[in-house]
């Protein structure tokens, strides 16, 4: 039986990479995002793919999407909590609404999506949740205090939820990527990217498929005895 993978924010970046990878493995994939991209349009109508335009902060719509996915494919085997936003600004200069928006998007939405999926997983007595964290949850960096707070909270959530759901055969882990080549670093100056590469023991940024590979591993049977962990994929920058 094909596995069913639910990925939040699957229209671009790491989410899109994961959608492609899981479909290549023969999985059914469900995803939502705020807007439709050419990547999503190309898959519309495929029997193994389900997408809907939803803002992840709309909790009722997200809950309905999870239940629709479970009805359509019969189960939800893996959740990848991928949606996230990042802005580069020091805390004293941030608008309060932007702080609230980041916490809602990066944290609250992830908790509530995991809650909805965990209910389906409880019924099927199996499942796997992978939260996309960040190296900013582990090391402090100027300009990302709120982002760091949301990602560190996600790692704490991962550990406690693993304790809660482990006895029901549901694993919960997180992947903490370092800087990788995606839309989120496009705005960086070349000098800044060079500086990051120099500080990284492997002397480069990650390729997006290297981050996706960590998610695929944690979602696979090869990781069947791993839960409550944060897998750091950063070329050694935090070691």
């Amino acid at each position: 039986m094909s596995r069913t993978i639910l990925i939040s924010g699957g229209s671009r970046g790491l989410g899109a990479e994961l959608v492609t990878g899981f479909r290549a493995q023969g999985c059914n994939v469900a995803s939502f995002s705020r807007s439709k991209t050419a990547f999503i349009e190309a898959m519309e109508g495929s029997a193994d793919f389900h997408w809907q335009a939803i803002d992840g902060r709309d909790h009722e719509a997200v809950h309905g999407f999870v239940n629709d996915t479970a009805s359509r494919f019969g189960r939800v085997d893996v959740l990848v909590n991928n949606t996230g936003i990042a802005t580069d600004s020091v805390l004293p200069l941030m608008r309060p609404d932007d702080i609230i928006d980041m916490v809602d998007t990066n944290l609250t939405a992830a908790l509530l999506l995991a809650q909805s999926c965990s209910r389906v997983m409880l019924r099927q007595a199996s499942g796997c949740i992978v939260n996309i964290s960040s190296v900013n949850a582990i090391r402090g960096h100027e300009g990302v205090a709120v982002y760091s707070a949301t990602k560190a909270a996600l790692d704490g959530f991962t550990r406690s939820l693993a304790r809660e759901l482990g006895p029901r055969n549901i694993r919960v882990n997180s992947v903490a990527p370092g800087y990788f080549e995606t839309d989120m670093v496009k705005g960086m100056e070349p000098a800044q990217m060079d500086r990051i590469a120099r500080r990284t023991p492997l002397r480069r940024l990650a390729r997006i498929e290297e981050i996706a590979a960590a998610v695929h591993f944690l979602a696979s049977e090869q990781a069947s005895f791993i839960t409550g962990q944060t897998l750091v994929v950063d070329g050694g920058i935090t070691c």
């Binding site: 965990s118 209910r119 409880l122 019924r123 809660e164 759901l165 029901r168």
Partner: protein, 116 residues
């Protein structure tokens, strides 16, 4: 009404789901009474209750604990049945029903715990 479930149907469905969970745990000769406490009498854990709520949402299409009722107000089988009846007919709820009393007890406990 969100659904044509009668009050009697809801009780039957809730009791059946509780019985199934207890049977999965290996209990035999299960007799469920309305005043049985979910935890103290039947031995249901928080995660058992989470599974129960999930299964009832899948079967009945409603989750009274999303907005209408605090799950901390539910202690007995009858409390749970009342919560689902409330989800189907919120206008029919009266301040004197058992669930409202349970909600008051839970609020009182929370206030004591927080010093409020």
């Amino acid at each position: 009404m969100l659904n044509p479930c009668s009050a009697a149907d809801i009780q039957t469905i809730v009791h059946a789901r509780i019985r199934a969970i207890l049977e999965d745990r290996g209990d035999e000769n299960i007799v469920i009474a309305g005043d049985d406490k979910l935890n103290a009498t039947l031995g249901l854990t928080s995660m058992d209750l989470a599974l129960l709520v999930s299964e009832l949402e899948a079967e009945l299409g409603v989750d009274p604990f999303a907005k209408l009722v605090s799950v901390t107000a539910v202690r007995s089988v009858d409390d749970l049945v009342a919560a689902y009846r409330l989800a189907f007919a919120p206008a029919a709820a009266t301040p004197d029903d058992g669930l409202a009393e349970a909600a008051r007890r839970a609020a009182s406990r929370r206030a004591r715990m927080t010093g409020g």
